[in-house]
Structures are given as structure tokens and as C-alpha cells.
């Protein structure tokens, strides 16, 4: 068992707090230019995701990687989440997992 390298649930607002460590976020893909994908975070802000996106990308994509700036993630893992996704629920979870119930996650 190893809990030394968790991936924190983040939205755009929380991403700013985690520059450096591993994070996980779900984005709605807005644009994909080569290796950079612009996505809408679950709290309705824009974030940039770098790396090697798979092709094709579905409407919603989960990325896991290093937060390399306040608004961008260098993704190691991309998972297509399909064309429908409850972003509101996910966003609430981001907040709970970084707030009152952080000890269950980090």
C-alpha cells in the first residue's frame, strides 16, 4: 500500500493551491491544438492541459498529472469520460475532498 503520491480532486479554483503535486480534474474539451487542450473546469473556468491527448477525445475528459501552473496541468493519464457527465456533482466532490473530508483523501 502506498499513499505517498495521491492525485487530488481539483477544479480550477483548487488547482491554484496545488502547483507541484499530482492532481486529477475533469474538463469539458473546448479546443485541442496539438499537445495543448483547452478545457472548461467543473467550476466553469478555463484550464490548459498539456501532454499527449488520445484521439479522439470525448466531450468530457479526466486528466491526471502534475499541476505545472495555476491554470495548467501537465497530464500523464487521459481518460475519456464520454459525452455526458455530472459536472456539478463532481465539483461538489472536489470541494468536500479538499475541505471537511480532506483526511479521507490526502
Amino acid at each position: 500500500m502506498d499513499t505517498s503520491n495521491p492525485a487530488v480532486f481539483v477544479n480550477a479554483e483548487l488547482l491554484r493551491l496545488y502547483v507541484g503535486p499530482r492532481v486529477r480534474a475533469v474538463i469539458q474539451v473546448l479546443r485541442s491544438d496539438g499537445g495543448v487542450v483547452t478545457g472548461q473546469s467543473t467550476d466553469d473556468n478555463q484550464i490548459l492541459v498539456k501532454g499527449s491527448p488520445p484521439s479522439p477525445l470525448s466531450k468530457f475528459v479526466e486528466v491526471v498529472g502534475i499541476a505545472d501552473s495555476e491554470k495548467s496541468i501537465h497530464a500523464e493519464i487521459w481518460t475519456n469520460f464520454g459525452d455526458t457527465f455530472e459536472t456539478h456533482t463532481y465539483n461538489q466532490l472536489c470541494q468536500l475532498a479538499n475541505g471537511e473530508f480532506k483526511h479521507l483523501f490526502l
Binding site: 500500500m1 502506498d2 499513499t3 495521491p6 492525485a7 487530488v8 480532486f9 486529477r24 468530457f60 479526466e62 491526471v64 493519464i77 481518460t79 469520460f81 464520454g82 457527465f85 455530472e86 456533482t89 463532481y90 466532490l93 468536500l96 475532498a97 473530508f101 483526511h103 479521507l104 483523501f105 490526502l106
Partner: protein, 276 residues
């Protein structure tokens, strides 16, 4: 008659993690919470397991939020999958940590199940936590690829809810759950004060004290009955409880109408609503 033929404690002793009737009767330190929660299936994060494991001093079984950990369910991504003839091992990364998992492949249905599981896939796992030589692995009963990705958020929300329930709500109720009171409203011994722990297994199978409905309900709430997502086939219930199919089906119908159990994949498999 019935009580002499069927020892619930022995029949459902799930790999030695469930104490027998005699243990419960003889050991006063056995608290009501342990007694009751033995049936539970806990949704957990790897972080919770790791933390509890560190506090447990490497004992064979341990508790999380005051509840014995037996069967658990996790959601995460499969990594480092290694398939062998007899078993498949892999690491489950749920984002809070990584845990070693092992699935024995005994029958064709098992190999079909694990064949479709690949690295990088999100899966829902049901399993049993097993400690050996200071190492804790998850012995997997069931592994299912996730197709609706809302299930990931749903699982972690479940973890939060169950944690909240076990740490706060359960205490508010004085250690006796509403579930138990609801499920056992027909049997007076259950209505004792929290100081008198509800000995769930002792006396549970005495003849005449409980009708068939109660027996069916108790049977469906056992952990072994919840191991399979489909629930239990009515033939199995009839065989285990040694009641005729006619009597069983009318009891089942009543329980369904009362909303205490429900049919799953077809009209012959049933699960208790309490266990989800």
C-alpha cells in the same frame, strides 16, 4: 428443530473474520457495534485503509470509524496487471493511494471477468481485505469495468457519507441503528437499551420466535448474501432456511411489498434493501 440444524455463525463464518456465536457470548468486550456492523460492506478510499492499517498494530483484523472491516468496495484505476494461470494481480490506484489486489481465477466465469480488465481502466471492486506478513492485499471477489464515469464521484461521495454516518450519526443514535430496529421490530429482544448489546446471531435462529419473513430478511442481510450483486436465488434461500417454496414465496412477496427486499436481475434473485 431449525436451530439445531443450522448454525448461522458457522455457516457464514466467512474465512474466520466473523466470530462464532460462542465467541460473542463469552466475550463481553464484544461491543454492539462490532456485532452489528459485521454485516457491512464498506465503501473506502485507500487512504482510509492505510491509516487504519497503521493504527491496527498489524492485527489480523482492524476497524475504521469503529466498524470492523471485512468486505470493502473501491473504485479506481488498474495498473501493473499481471495475469497468471491461477490468479491475476494488479495495483488499484484510486487517487488517494495504491493497493495490491489479487483475484483468484478458478472457473471460466472468473477468467472471462478478468480477461477484459486492462491497465488504465477504471473499475469497481468488491473484495475482502487480507493481511499477510505485514502486507495488506485486497482479495477481489468481483471486478467490473466502469462505464458510467459518474460512478467515480458517486463512490467517493459514498465513502464520505459512510464515514460521516459511522463517526457521527451512529453515535447520535446511541449505538443502535435504525436499520436494526426496523429490521427486527417484530422481535422484542432487539429493543433493548444500548447498554444491552443486540446479540444478532445468538437466538436468531430459534424456532417459533420468528416467522419465515424474519428468517428470510436476516438471511438476506448476511454478508455472504451480499457478496453477489445479483443477490440470492430463492432456491438457495429455501434450501438454507429449510422452508417450503410455497411458504417462502408468500413471505418474499410480503417483504417485497413492505419494501424490505427487492428482486434483482430476475424474479428469483433477491436482496435486502438495507444492504443496497
Amino acid at each position: 428443530m431449525y436451530g439445531s440444524q443450522f448454525d448461522g455463525g458457522a455457516a457464514f463464518s466467512g474465512g474466520g473474520f466473523m466470530p462464532s456465536q460462542t465467541t460473542q457470548a463469552a466475550d463481553p468486550s464484544f461491543s454492539s457495534s462490532k456485532n452489528r456492523e459485521i454485516q457491512s460492506l464498506l465503501p473506502l478510499t485507500v487512504k482510509q485503509i492505510k491509516e487504519a492499517f497503521l493504527l491496527s498494530d498489524d492485527k489480523s483484523n482492524f476497524t475504521i470509524d469503529g466498524v470492523d472491516v471485512n468486505n470493502v468496495t473501491l473504485v479506481g484505476m488498474v495498473c501493473n496487471r499481471t495475469g497468471r494461470i491461477t490468479d491475476v494481480t494488479f495495483i488499484l490506484d484510486d487517487g488517494t493511494g495504491r493497493i495490491e489486489c489479487n483475484k483468484w481465477v478458478q472457473e471460466l466465469v472468473d477468467s472471462n471477468e478478468v480477461e477484459g480488465i486492462l491497465d488504465g481502466m477504471y473499475v469497481r471492486i468488491h473484495g475482502h481485505l487480507k493481511g499477510f506478513m505485514g502486507k495488506r492485499t485486497l482479495n477481489v471477489f468481483s471486478i467490473r469495468p466502469i462505464t458510467d464515469f459518474n460512478e467515480i464521484a458517486s463512490h467517493f461521495i459514498d465513502c464520505i457519507y459512510v464515514h460521516l454516518y459511522n463517526t457521527r450519526l451512529r453515535k447520535l443514535q446511541g449505538g443502535v441503528t435504525t436499520q436494526q430496529q426496523m429490521a427486527n421490530s417484530t422481535s422484542t429482544p432487539m429493543k433493548g437499551s444500548p447498554a444491552a448489546p443486540p446479540h444478532q446471531f445468538s437466538g436468531q435462529y430459534n424456532v417459533g420466535q420468528k416467522n419465515i419473513e424474519q428468517m428470510v430478511l436476516d438471511f438476506l442481510q448476511l454478508p455472504s448474501s451480499n457478496a453477489d450483486e445479483k443477490g440470492v436465488h430463492c432456491d438457495v434461500i429455501a434450501r438454507q432456511l429449510r422452508v417450503s417454496m410455497d411458504k417462502l414465496m408468500s413471505s418474499i412477496q410480503n417483504l417485497v411489498e413492505e419494501g424490505l427486499i427487492y428482486s434483482t436481475t430476475d424474479d428469483f434473485h433477491f436482496k435486502s434493501t438495507i444492504n443496497g
